[in-house]
Symmetry: C2
Subunit: 189 residues, 2 copies
DNA sequence: TCGGGAACTTGTCAATGTCTAGATACCGGC
DNA sequence: GCCGGTATCTAGACATTGACAAGTTCCCGA
């Protein structure tokens, strides 16, 4: 404090990622700029480059983190004995609460989708999702349908395409939508 | 040919839009550049600006065109007496065949979503989609669920998130997924 | 025919991503 | 305790981009 900022930031990588999340959340993924992030974090214009090779590298790191967070969220509800609807609600909640991560995760033109860290995390999340609907109906189809509903709902919600009443809770609506898929299965609707 | 290109292009607006579609289809919406498009079309770097104010203006025009095309596609299957599954299949087919338009349409940070032309076209498409599931189950929920499945499936397909066998026809799979939603309703199909 | 305006060009500016080289701080081994 | 190697960060430069301003060429209607 006494003599301005220290030469070493301390945790630049995390700080830049956090700043990127802020920017994307507020103004979309097309608004992120390496130099802008550097400025926000209080570091020289080329500082971030050392941690993430590229602009794409930065977003790759974000995507990987996102898939990890999603997997964690899914596995938490699964361990809690949740059924598909709970899983779907968790998916929607994740998408809304981490909309920046979510946006980048499914925008392969912005990051390196073949990055090993991203691929591994994506597969972990995918397996958890798949497992949630195994055994209900034809295996593949039900899983794809289930993923599609929650993903579609989350995407439409985040982009503002759904006309919604102010005060609507996305997780509640999402749960209803997910429930609609398997509405006459198991006990009473 | 005798004296190079003519001063007036003739149909610059359409040519630029077409070039933009090519670029986005091949390398994603983040790869479009006003100057690059001008180069591809064989026009000076500021040529396109005269037709679309902005980069965002260009993408706004694309989005509007996309919603028009979608509405046309939906209304065609509706006039043909199609039910929800047909409508859903048309939605998926549109998303896959016009992936560039589709991508821009649902990326409000890239265009001006409040543009009157876009808003009007979007509402026309929305009404057609809504009408396709009216009367089945609770009105609002079924419509949202239906839109969510097909939109989610189309998005996942286009981003390459779905592990699919080569040779799979997205429209066929999409139809199956859409059918899964209302699988035990009404007679026939 | 002639003048106004649309369509396009050329020149310019600030800003961005990426590369290079150099400065500074940390850390393990002696 | 200090010393050299390395990770971290800065500073400068360059090509490229979106946007703006002013000029040029062409069309079209009064």
């Amino acid at each position: 404090m006494t003599s301005g900022r220290p030469y070493h930031h301390g945790d630049l990588r995390r700080a830049v990622l956090a700043a990127a999340v802020d920017v994307i959340t507020e103004r979309g993924a097309s608004a992120v700029g390496l130099r802008d992030l550097a400025r926000r974090v209080g570091v020289s214009h080329a500082g971030p480059v050392h941690h993430f090779r590229d602009k794409a590298g930065l977003l790759t790191a974000l995507a990987a983190e996102g898939f990890e967070l999603l997997a964690d969220a899914l596995s938490a509800t699964r361990d809690g004995g949740g059924d598909f609807v709970d899983l779907g609600a968790a998916y929607v909640r994740f998408a809304v609460e981490h909309r920046a991560h979510f946006e980048v995760m499914f925008r392969p033109d912005l990051h390196h989708p073949d990055d090993p860290a991203v691929a591994a995390a994506r597969e972990r999340a995918g397996a958890l999702l798949q497992g949630g609907v195994a055994g209900e109906g034809e295996p593949g189809l039900a899983a794809v349908a289930a993923w599609s509903v929650v993903h579609g709902f989350a995407t439409l919600w985040n982009t503002g395409a759904l006309t919604r009443d102010p005060g609507d809770d996305p997780e509640v609506v999402g749960r209803a939508v997910a429930g609609f898929l398997f509405r006459d299965q198991g006990r009473g609707r």
